[in-house]
């Protein structure tokens, strides 16, 4: 599915920095560049997958996109409207159109409240509905996400992980949002249940014309749901493009290593793919390396990479890569 031209969400050189420590701690005040200069355009109806290792800034970026974090630098546009610095009151009408689903449904659902109440909460806050209207809408939502009507009176602990995530999803779609940011929505679930939730998300997208930003560390799940993907490394996007193309022919050496490291079920031993094992660990975002941030681990790094930082530029139609020496695709 391809979107129309009007972007639903756009970031322009968005950065998020955190200050850590105090002037009394041994290293003094320091600044973490969690998200660094990210420009991303999300079009209506598409699913953008964000992938990268832990600590690459994908969750921080997600939280900036729904303004759970304040943005340090750059701009955030929602449906053409600059919401970078909007106050909480100004954000309210935007929030109902911009929702988020979190990884751990047992941590994001209040254990003391019935799930019917939890799903009704956004309706009470945002929608002008009578209590009968709210009940009706909750029943509709339960049906939409595959929960039974008599589940409304139960507490979160009475559900399995998959059902709890359905509650989390029902809450997120309660107000008919345009965009849902999903941060690792299936990672905490059992393998046999993951597929159900992936299918549910696809069905809801079709029915409700939703746009998704999907974050997961499981690359095969990301490939399944995404139309486009963005690969992040140390706070920046290093490659972006149509999901199929990036997975079959990654251009950035980091994307290549990441995709090659995924263990897959191989039925024929000859079909085994060549694996690129990266040396070392992800450097600390407190002291990112000079030049290309990936160069200390990059198997093809040259002198230029050590001094000059590559920008994310169009490499081929629809594909961007931040590398001086991208693989020819």
């Amino acid at each position: 599915m391809t979107g129309t031209d009007q972007p639903i969400l756009e970031t322009r050189a968005l950065s998020k920095r955190f200050s850590i420590g105090t002037r009394f701690s041994s290293e003094g005040r320091r600044v973490v560049h969690a998200v660094d200069n990210v420009s991303l355009t999300v079009r209506r109806g598409e699913t953008v997958g964000l992938v990268g290792e832990s600590g690459c800034g994908k969750s921080t970026l997600a939280r900036c996109l729904v303004r759970l974090y304040d943005i340090t630098d750059g701009q955030l546009l929602f449906d053409g409207d600059d919401i970078t610095a909007k106050s909480l009151a100004e954000l309210r009408p935007v929030r109902r159109r911009l929702q988020m689903v979190f990884q751990d449904p047992s941590a994001s659902l209040n254990p003391r409240r019935r799930v019917g109440d939890l799903v009704a909460e956004p309706l009470r806050v945002h929608a002008k509905l009578t209590s009968a209207g709210i009940r009706e809408r909750v029943a509709e939502l339960f049906d939409l996400v595959g929960l039974l009507p008599d589940h409304v009176g139960r507490y979160p602990h009475e559900f399995s992980g998959g059902q709890r995530q359905r509650v989390g999803i029902a809450r997120a779609i309660a107000l008919n949002p345009d965009l849902v940011v999903l941060d690792e929505p299936v990672s905490a679930l059992d393998v046999s249940v993951q597929a159900q939730i992936v299918n549910l998300l696809a069905d809801l997208q079709d029915k409700l014309k939703l746009t998704y930003i999907f974050i997961a560390h499981d690359l095969s799940v990301v490939r399944q749901v995404s139309t486009r993907i963005a690969v992040m490394y140390l706070g920046s996007i290093v490659e972006e493009g149509p999901s199929e193309e990036v997975f079959s022919a990654p251009a950035h050496p980091y994307s290549q290593a990441l995709i090659s490291a995924v263990p897959v079920v191989e039925t024929t031993p000859s079909g085994r793919r060549k694996r690129i094992i990266l040396s070392g660990d992800v450097p600390s975002p407190l002291k990112p390396p000079a030049g290309c941030r990936f160069h200390p681990r990059c198997p093809v790094a040259k002198d230029r990479c050590r001094t000059e930082r590559p920008a994310l530029v169009e490499h081929k139609s629809g594909r961007k890569v931040a590398c001086h020496f991208p693989a020819s695709v």
Partner: protein, 319 residues
Amino acid sequence: MMLSVRDLKVSFRTDDGLVRAIDGVSFDLEEGEILGVVGESGSGKTVSLLAVMGLITDPNAVIEGSIRYKGRELVGLPARELRRLRGNEIAMIFQDPMTALTPVYTIGWQIAEQIQAHQRLSRSAALDRVEELLAEVNFPNPREAMSRYPHQLSGGMRQRAVIAMALSCNPALLVADEPTTALDVTVQAGILDLVRKLRATHNSAVVFITHDMGVVSELADRVMVMYAGRIVERGSRSELFNDPSHPYTRALLGSIPPLTGDKPRRLPAIPGSPPSLLRLPKGCAFGPRCPARYEPCDAGKPDLAGGSHAAACFRVAQA
């Protein structure tokens, strides 16, 4: 035969009644063999291996059956004797390396302590050995890493330190419980390489517990699939992945989205969720979710039937 487990049953007395976490598990392991144990949470994969290690200390646990290690019965062995085996002959690594490391001592100190607990070595000789081990698990600068505390290392480095600790006495048997689940795929690839290297250099046997079918297919010689406390299918890697016979194995493999090739519009999902051990169905535990269920499935629990490639399913037995 290095390890031979027969009809292992583990039950826990709880407020809600007796819970049978493991219900008749039998398997063998030879030297130098890597056995993959796959299953979802609550399938009993961890508990069965904790029982093998003698690490179930819960007074409400009841362990029945036989666990023979190099011919010696481990069930009922005094704690002292077991302790001598653990660490020396049998080592275990867990999902979260912080459970195996103390935050208040340096990495070097902890690994040296472990070596000295099992071998007569001077402190300086033990420290030299630590340096060797850390180099073996790909620490770029082992001497420097030895003076670090666990919180100063990344998750992947911590897990490698725990592996170095597990390897310190050249264990004949290594039990790894989801050692890469909390790690990134790029780091995971390195850990899997280390496990293969251990087998190649020391001919150690490895039991690798995971929920990731991809990991098992890359690493294991033989595979055991567990569901609700029982083995539902076992076989060699190629038997299991080329010709899965139990409906659960087939469904599980089918529900994993592919990384290459055509992607299905919808994933073939398994309905429902894994059963609670407190409320197991009367017949086959997978019955309520099984596409191939028929009358016999509701009546009794199928036994594991077959030779090296075996499945616990009435349909398979009938075919």
